[in-house]
């Protein structure tokens, strides 16, 4: 369970809405890619091991390199980097990927600030 979902335990309706948004975002991408993106972003924050990329195709590696830029370098991502991800995932996939990578970063930060404990959970 994400730190945000855990923090919202006292408001099941809002928690369900958040979980649905999170689930819909992940479901729009290949489940393996979603998991790798989350892991790569968490590794940048130092709260997970970096994913093993040895068996991954070039497109997936490119996506992970892009996702790793989201926590601290989001304004430095270039048009060329974005175009490469669009070429691999398509426009709809790029939209879902962008939301997922950004949400993964924010959720890591919510966990690191101790949100569930602050919310009494």
């Amino acid at each position: 369970m994400s730190a945000v979902c855990a923090a919202l335990a006292a408001d099941p309706v809002l928690a369900a809405h958040y979980a649905d948004f999170r689930d819909k975002t992940e479901a729009a991408l290949d489940p393996a890619l979603s998991a790798l993106v989350r892991q790569a972003v968490a590794a940048v924050h130092g709260i997970a091991a970096a994913p093993d990329e040895s068996g991954l195709d070039e497109g997936t590696r490119l996506c992970l390199a892009y996702a790793r830029r989201m926590p601290f370098e989001h304004t430095a991502i270039t048009d060329a980097e974005a175009a490469a991800v669009v070429a691999h995932l398509g426009e709809a996939g790029f939209v879902a990927f962008s939301v997922l990578a950004a949400l993964a970063d924010a959720e890591c930060r919510a966990e690191m600030v101790g949100l569930p404990g602050l919310a009494g959970n």
């Binding site: 729009a28 048009d79 949100l115 009494g120």
Partner: protein, 177 residues
């Protein structure tokens, strides 16, 4: 930071903006707008404090779109530009922001920048001024503000130029009769 859209609009006749680009993923869009409406519609935490946190996030993440949008519910709760102007570095000494808002801003900075900012006195102040349920809503809000700002920026949806724009506060969409 690019101001050239990196993805096209999925709505014929509309330029690329957050809504028209998110329309490439209609299920994500519907779920997001339902969540965002529910979040802003809840009065557990005031719209004014939510907007204070949103403005801080906009400034730190360099989201020009977020920075220029105002939601009317917070305006109605007294969040005028003279207060917004104080949501910058040094807000701790503002005479226009309330102590609860300053505590919320410190939490916002901790979440979006450095978790070590929320230790000792800052953590105690947050818990003194906000209830656990309010902190949960604030945490949800800052998570969404941060994620959306970064998604918007990285999709190249930053406006080259934008005037300050007051928008209706997101609301829960009623099902069609």
């Amino acid at each position: 930071m690019s101001t050239i859209p990196r993805v096209s609009s999925a709505i014929p006749g509309e330029p690329p903006h957050f809504g028209s680009v998110l329309a490439h993923q209609p299920e994500i869009a519907a779920s997001f707008f339902a969540l965002y409406g529910r979040f802003w519609g809840s009065d557990v935490l005031s719209a004014r404090i939510k907007e204070v946190a949103r403005m801080r996030n906009a400034r730190v993440t360099e989201c020009g779109f977020c920075r220029n949008v105002r939601f009317d519910k917070a305006l109605g709760q007294g969040l005028g530009e003279e207060v917004v102007d104080d949501i910058t570095d040094g807000y701790e000494t503002s005479a226009k922001l309330t102590e609860a808002e300053k505590a919320a801003l410190k939490f916002t900075d901790a979440l979006i920048h450095d978790p070590d900012l929320l230790t000792g006195d800052a953590r105690a102040a947050l818990q003194r001024h906000l209830t656990p349920a309010q902190i949960a809503e604030l945490g949800l809000g800052v998570t969404l503000f941060l994620a959306l700002a970064k998604a918007l920026i990285t999709m190249g949806l930053e406006p080259e130029q934008m005037d300050r724009t007051v928008l209706p506060t997101p609301a829960v969409l009623e099902a069609a009769a």
